[in-house]
């Protein structure tokens, strides 16, 4: 959500701003410092964060600055033009502008353009463009005329597109507008005619442009108060031909048409623009930020003292002349989302506190405004800065960790993660863990060989992760068939979707016994059944009887005879676990996981029938183990409960009954399950009977207490 913060005034001294306001505000080589050129004779260097001027330079009485001062980022010098033709170049140490380097040019300069990473350009009023170095080599060189007579440059902007400088300027002649795009790598100048569309009478008040990969998006604010967008291709199809461009309406009636001091417009980022002007004819001037993607007003600020209709935007600051003083309004914008655009952000944050983004998008560079730095030099600077950063002791360990993840070896990452986890007390612990996992998983996806398993295990064990926070984690674990990690996820994550649970189940059932031997699965939920069998063998039969399950009891079913033939076989089957303990542990993790029947059932149908049978056999085995003791629980630390076992049996049968019933090897199992259900029913009916008899007993007991409706008793009070 875009937000304007509290404004502050930059200069306490009144600038000698003319009726047209300032000449310009330009960036200097330091991020926080800006060059302000007034319409008279003075250039002032301001440090915004300190709200004070660092230096001030004036030209002699009688001379007039005609072009705003800019900074040559390559040499860290400042350049200004006075009296249209005289170029002055100086640096911070110089005091008097009269004594600095001077070059008199042969033609009038419209503007000097400078962006970081390339040499400044000089745009002449006749439309010709020269590089500064080339110009200074021969200041008196002849400057050709590019634009026609009576054609006036209205606005210009300089971009770097794919490391190549691109200059755009707009001219006007008799109400017609033309755009010129100068590519410096190919030295091609393309001329476009801007068609105003149906509203031919409107005058364009202000321009702004932003650039993406293929187009320069030129936005213009017309006198009818609407904002139009024109897309200008960076690579012209046919440079020779005069081409026309149609503009499309972007925002309607943003400002009122007839404003006293004019209106201004600047693009803040791809989705946001700032507009200066009065929303209604009568009202005071406003600075408003619009989201052009959703066409919504994001925020607005009233400027009661009036403005000069000029607006500059650098970094995070909007500059304007408010009344007589230069005002800075810091501007901040989060990534725009539908929710944000509609003004509803679930996790609102306090203004003023800087919150780390929940997830770092590794595709866009973070911090430091590195976007346009692409020359060798700037790269060097970047590197130096990086070293500085790592040397600073107060750099949070989380940042270090994140950078480690991207480059270092698994071993090193593991050490770093352990170090970070040991700290644990950081306030943004959750977010860092989230970012770390995302970072690790991104890298896993990119490099198939990279699989920092121990790290992931450690991170999962922090209990702060959930499935929805890092859905890729289980996906990768499933691909790698890492059953240990999957088991851990099943135990720790509360929100695993049923499809993933089912995929885990598939792997747990299909993985070979030999590969299971190598894994280090948590055996907490599995009790060593084989030992207990011998100890409790005597008890077993009677206990089962107690809980109502007795296969010998019912004689009605014909399958019984078959069973009775080999009773030893049956007991053997029921008492030995059909799966190895490690697989049992994995399956127990599935049993413990949360699910919703409707969502799980369709996925269960995908599991092969022999695996279903195996799982059913295991569940049946667990049930028998449950029935062995009076409390109907399994031994062990965290065993599956009877309800979980029964629910899964039902689910599996619901999903796969038609398949399982066809399998000869499952026949015995199904018969056993049938008997189990039958015995369950009889148990519950017995329980209900007992309940009723107990109630009768209770009634009898009450009647005994009642001693009838009438009695005579003896009472002694003490």
């Amino acid at each position: 959500m875009a937000a304007l913060e509290e404004e502050f005034t930059l200069s306490s001294v009144v600038l000698s701003a003319g009726p047209e306001g300032l000449l310009g505000v330009e960036q200097s080589d330091k991020t926080d410092q800006f060059l302000v050129t007034d319409s008279g004779r003075t250039v002032i260097l301001y440090k915004v964060s300190d709200q004070k001027p660092l230096g001030s330079w004036s030209v002699k009485q009688g001379q007039v600055i005609t072009c705003p001062a800019v900074c040559n980022f390559q040499t860290r010098e400042y350049i200004v033009v006075h009296d249209n033709k005289v170029l002055r170049i100086w640096n911070n140490e110089d005091v008097n502008l009269d004594k600095v380097f001077k070059a008199t040019l042969s033609a009038e300069v419209y503007r000097i353009l400078s962006v970081q990473g390339t040499e400044p350009l000089v745009l002449f009023k006749e439309g010709a463009v020269r590089g500064l170095e080339a110009l200074l080599a021969d200041p008196q060189q002849k400057i050709e005329t590019v634009i026609s007579d009576e054609e006036v440059i209205k606005w210009t902007k300089f971009f770097i597109v794919f490391r190549h400088p691109v200059l755009i300027f707009i001219t006007e002649k008799h109400g017609n507008y033309f755009a010129y795009v100068q590519m410096f790598n190919s030295r091609i100048l393309t001329k476009y005619t801007l068609l105003l569309g149906q509203d031919e009478n409107s005058v364009i008040e202000s321009f702004t442009a932003s650039v993406d990969r293929k187009f320069i998006s030129l936005m213009s604010l017309s006198s009818d108060g609407c904002i139009y967008e024109t897309l200008i291709p960076i690579r012209p199809t046919d440079p020779e031909k005069n081409q026309t461009l149609v503009r499309s309406l972007l925002l309607k009636a943003v400002v009122s048409g007839n404003t006293r001091n004019g209106v201004a417009l600047t693009a803040l980022d791809q989705d946001h623009i700032a507009v200066l002007g009065s929303p209604q004819a009568a009202s005071k001037e406003c600075l408003s930020v619009w989201n052009i993607k959703f066409q919504t007003l994001q925020t607005s600020k009233e400027l009661p003292q009036g403005t000069s209709g000029q607006l500059w935007y650098y970094g995070e600051n909007l500059f304007m002349l408010h009344g007589k003083s230069l005002t800075v309004i810091p501007y901040k914008c989060e990534v725009s989302s539908l929710a944000g655009a509609l003004g509803k952000l679930k996790y609102g944050q306090d203004p003023g506190t800087h919150v780390m983004p929940r997830f770092v998008n590794w595709e866009t560079p973070q911090g430091c405004g590195l976007g346009f730095q692409n020359s060798e030099q700037s790269r060097r600077i970047l590197r130096r800065r990086k070293i500085e950063v790592s040397l600073q002791p107060e750099v949070p360990p989380s940042k270090q960790l994140l950078s480690t993840i991207m480059e270092d070896s698994e071993k090193h990452i593991e050490v770093e993660v352990r170090k970070f986890l040991a700290l644990k007390q950081t306030p943004d612990f959750h977010t860092v863990i989230g970012d770390t996992v995302t970072g690790l998983l991104e890298r896993c996806k990119a490099e198939p060989s990279f699989y920092p398993r121990n790290c992931l295990v450690q991170l999962i064990q922090t209990h702060v992760l959930s499935y929805s926070l890092c859905p890729d984690l289980m996906e990768i674990a499933l691909i790698k068939k890492d059953v240990q990690l999957l088991q851990l996820c099943l135990q720790q994550f509360p929100d695993i979707p049923e499809s993933v649970t089912c995929a885990c189940l598939k792997i747990f059932l299909s993985i070979g016994d030999d590969s299971l031997q190598e894994t280090d699965v948590s055996m907490e939920s599995v009790f060593d059944y084989s030992n207990s069998v011998h100890d409790e063998k005597m008890e077993e039969q009677t206990e089962i009887l107690q809980n109502g399950f007795n296969p010998e009891e019912d004689k009605c079913s014909n399958c019984d005879q078959e069973l009775n033939k080999k009773p030893q076989d049956e007991t053997k089957e029921s008492t030995s676990c059909p799966v190895v303990p490690k697989r049992a542990a994995l399956l127990n993790a599935i049993l413990h996981s949360a699910y919703s029947e409707t969502f799980l059932l369709p996925h269960l149908k995908d599991i092969p029938a022999q695996h279903i049978t195996l799982f059913l056999k295991y569940l049946y085995f667990l049930y028998l183990k449950c029935s062995e003791n009076a409390t109907m629980t399994l031994p062990g630390i965290h065993p599956p409960t009877l309800n979980q076992i029964m629910d899964w049996i039902c689910l599996l049968l619901d999903a796969n009954f038609t398949v399982v019933v066809m399998m000869p090897e499952a026949k015995r199992l199904l018969i056993n399950l049938y008997k189990l259900v039958k015995s369950q029913i009889s148990v519950y009916s017995e329980l209900n009977k007992i309940e009723v008899s107990f109630r009768e007993l209770q009634k009898l007991n009450q009647e005994k207490n009642n001693r009838g409706l009438y009695s005579i008793e003896v009472l002694e009070l003490f």
């Binding site: 519950y684 009438y710 009472l715 002694e716 003490f718």
Partner: protein, 686 residues
């Protein structure tokens, strides 16, 4: 202390009527309760939940809705199609107005209290204007297809929500037209039921309509768009009632399974401003349908078919963790339904539409404490006296000699003369009652059965002379000019000289019966009188109040007795003050003038004025006899309160003679056995 033979009577087959509606009045902190037989009771929640007032029921008048309007005026509406207003001073029905819409199912007073809305069988919603002395029909809203079962006003009074069968309508009050119709899903646990009845609606100030229905759902609707916002399935059976707190931060619903659910508006996350309704607490205090609920600022109140009125305090709203924070379950009326003839050992039981006369049995055996003695003669059911007409009996009394029975309904007063010839009883009605004896709120015979005292609902007290088979009106004490307050409690001294009468709020008046004039008025006290009696010989008037205080006032001296002053100075034992049922009967021992016998529903107590009062450190209730302690210690630890908790719930206890007591119990299990079976829930299996 004393050894008694106790006639333990459990054949009083009294079943309270189920509760149909409750209405809470925030202004006076009173709760009106209507029962299925048409009885309306008013409880004073500030006065220890005492049932102050009651309006007798009527067979043809099933109350379906009850509400307070215009401050403290109480209205009810029912299936006979009439809206009634109750006179809370004179304790009668002020008037009844036919709404001409068939049976009335619902009623709601506007937030300002000046308008009354009723929902009728024919689908009409009718608006009545409340005038100072009556109500006046104003207009009809758009007629709906089926009966209007529930109504709720928007707190601003501009809109109303009306629950019907299968849908909820939202009306604009100004135009009277339905602006939205919200269809309720009939599905119940996946099965489509025939109909979905919207039992209750509540309109919140933010425009949310909450509905409860017969499919077990609590649903939240947006009244602006007419859309369903949220649905909670909370029961397998009907959800029958809903009540919202005044702050709209919590509400309560009652289900047919006897469960009461509390919903609260809680923040989604801590310190977030976004809030949502969450089902917080279930309470299972009822066995049967919870027909009605109310939400007082500090408590959830519920009532239903199982006849209990349950007041469940919200612990987070209770500031001091005192006895007010305890759950209250009120089952029995706080007035006497039983009278006793000491001379003939007869008990007269009062039911809604009949009286029963029983003769107690006898025994010749003796025994020690706790023994049950063999009966030589069992109790006899002598008489079953059915009333004529549809009206419930208000009060009844049998004379001490056993030869007179008097009872009254709203419109008629009956007096019977009983003749005993060996085992035969003959009953003769005394005809030609004077017209002023029409409706009695309380009837009392003098000790020698020669005088009958009747408190009429006009505030007058009548004295009637009885002799032979006839009667003679002696005098009527008219109420003080300007007051119409009805007298609910009467007490007469054993010598017949003094008559004490108490109303619902003003003090106790004592009249001199010989001189036929007002003798004195006992200083008024904050809490209503629950029971009073005049001691023989001393003529001390003992008064019990609903805050469990007991005063003794000397009528001849016109001042509180020394003992009473001592008690007030020292204060009662804290456990005594924490009892939650009022004392309903006081009597005296003829041979032991220092003893006062009194009881509430859960204990019977003899106060021995000669013994020291217990302080908070001593044990108030000591059920075990001292065994091997010496007499000295016994005397030292002995205190004035001798309490027995053997008999409960105790509806009546009195002294028949020096060594014989009669105790009438009504075990709750016997009541439950007579109720329709509750919805059965399975304990095992699926």
């Amino acid at each position: 202390m004393g050894e008694f033979k106790v006639h333990r009577v459990r054949f009083f087959n009294y079943v309270p009527s189920g509760i149909r509606c409750v209405a809470y009045n925030n202004q006076s902190n009173r709760l009106a309760v209507s029962r299925t037989d048409g009885t309306v009771e008013v409880y004073n929640l500030s006065a220890n939940y005492f049932q102050e007032k009651f309006f007798p029921g009527h067979e043809s008048r099933a109350t379906e809705a009850l509400c307070w309007a215009e401050g403290q005026r109480l209205f009810s509406a029912g299936l006979n199609g009439e809206i009634m207003e109750y006179d809370l001073q004179a304790l009668n029905i002020k008037y009844a107005v036919d709404a001409f819409g068939g049976p009335i199912w619902s009623m709601a007073a506007s937030p300002s209290g000046s308008q009354l809305l009723v929902g009728c069988e024919d689908g009409s919603v009718k608006l009545f204007q409340i005038t100072p002395d009556k109500i006046q029909f104003e207009r009809n809203f758009d007629r709906q297809k089926s009966r209007i079962l529930s109504l709720s006003w928007h707190p601003s009074g501009t809109h109303i929500a009306a629950g019907s069968i299968d849908y909820i309508s939202v009306f604009d009050v100004k135009s009277g037209s339905a602006i939205h119709k919200m269809i309720v899903d009939r599905q119940h646990m996946g099965v489509s039921k025939r109909k979905c009845i919207v039992w209750g609606v509540a309109f919140l100030s933010d425009g949310t309509v909450i509905s409860v229905d017969s499919a077990g759902k609590v649903q939240f609707w947006d009244s602006a768009t007419g859309t369903l916002v949220k649905s909670h399935l909370i029961a397998n059976a009907d959800v029958q009632s809903i009540a919202v707190a005044e702050q709209e931060d919590s509400f309560v619903v009652g289900t047919a399974e006897g469960t009461v659910f509390h919903f609260q508006l809680v923040p989604v996350t801590s310190n977030s401003s976004e809030k949502q309704w969450v089902r917080t607490k279930p309470f299972q205090h009822h066995t049967h349908d919870v027909r009605t609920v109310a939400h007082s600022p500090t408590a959830l109140i519920s009532g239903g078919t199982d006849t209990h009125l349950v007041i469940r305090p919200l612990m987070e709203k209770v500031e001091v963790k005192n006895y007010d924070a305890a759950l209250r379950k009120i089952t029995f009326p706080h007035r006497r339904l039983i009278s006793c003839s000491k001379k003939r050992q007869l008990l007269l039981f009062q039911f809604a539409h009949h009286l029963e006369l029983w003769r107690l049995g006898s025994t010749v055996a003796t025994g020690k404490n706790g023994d049950t003695l063999p009966l030589s003669k069992n109790a006899d059911h002598l008489l079953h006296l059915k009333t004529k007409g549809p009206e419930n009996i208000i009060c009844s009394c049998i004379s001490p000699c056993g030869s007179w029975i008097a009872y009254s309904t709203v419109s008629r007063f009956f007096l019977y003369r009983l003749n005993y010839e060996h085992d035969n009883i003959s009953l003769k009605r005394v005809s030609k009652m004077p017209p002023f004896l029409r409706c009695a709120l309380q009837i009392l015979f003098s000790e020698d059965s020669t005088k009958l005292f009747v408190a009429s609902n006009q505030g007058a007290l009548h004295i009637v002379q009885l002799s032979g088979g006839s009667f003679k009106h002696l005098h009527a004490f008219q109420p003080q000019s300007g007051t119409v307050e009805a007298m609910c409690l009467l007490a007469v001294s054993s010598d017949g000289n003094w008559l004490a009468a108490s109303g619902t709020s003003a003090g106790v008046h004592v009249y001199n019966v010989k001189q036929l004039k007002l003798h004195c008025t006992v200083p008024a006290y904050n809490f209503p009188v629950t029971a009073m009696a005049i001691a023989p010989n001393t003529n001390n008037l003992v008064i019990a109040h609903s805050d469990q205080q007991v005063f003794e006032y000397s009528i001849p001296d016109k001042q509180y007795t020394d003992w009473s002053r001592t008690v007030q100075k020292q204060g009662f034992h804290h456990l005594w003050l924490q009892r939650d049922t009022p004392i309903t009967h006081i009597s005296f021992h003829p041979k032991r003038p220092m003893h006062i016998l009194l009881h509430d529903a859960y204990m019977f107590c003899i106060i021995d004025k000669s013994l020291p009062l217990p302080n908070d450190k001593t044990l108030l209730y000591n059920p075990f006899p001292p065994t091997n302690e010496s007499d000295v210690i016994r005397r030292r630890t002995a205190h004035a309160f001798k309490i027995s908790k053997i008999y409960k719930p105790l509806l009546f206890m009195d002294l028949l003679d020096e060594r014989t007591l009669v105790a009438v119990e009504r075990p709750l299990d016997d009541i439950i056995a007579q109720l329709p079976p509750p919805i059965k829930k399975k304990k095992f299996g699926t």
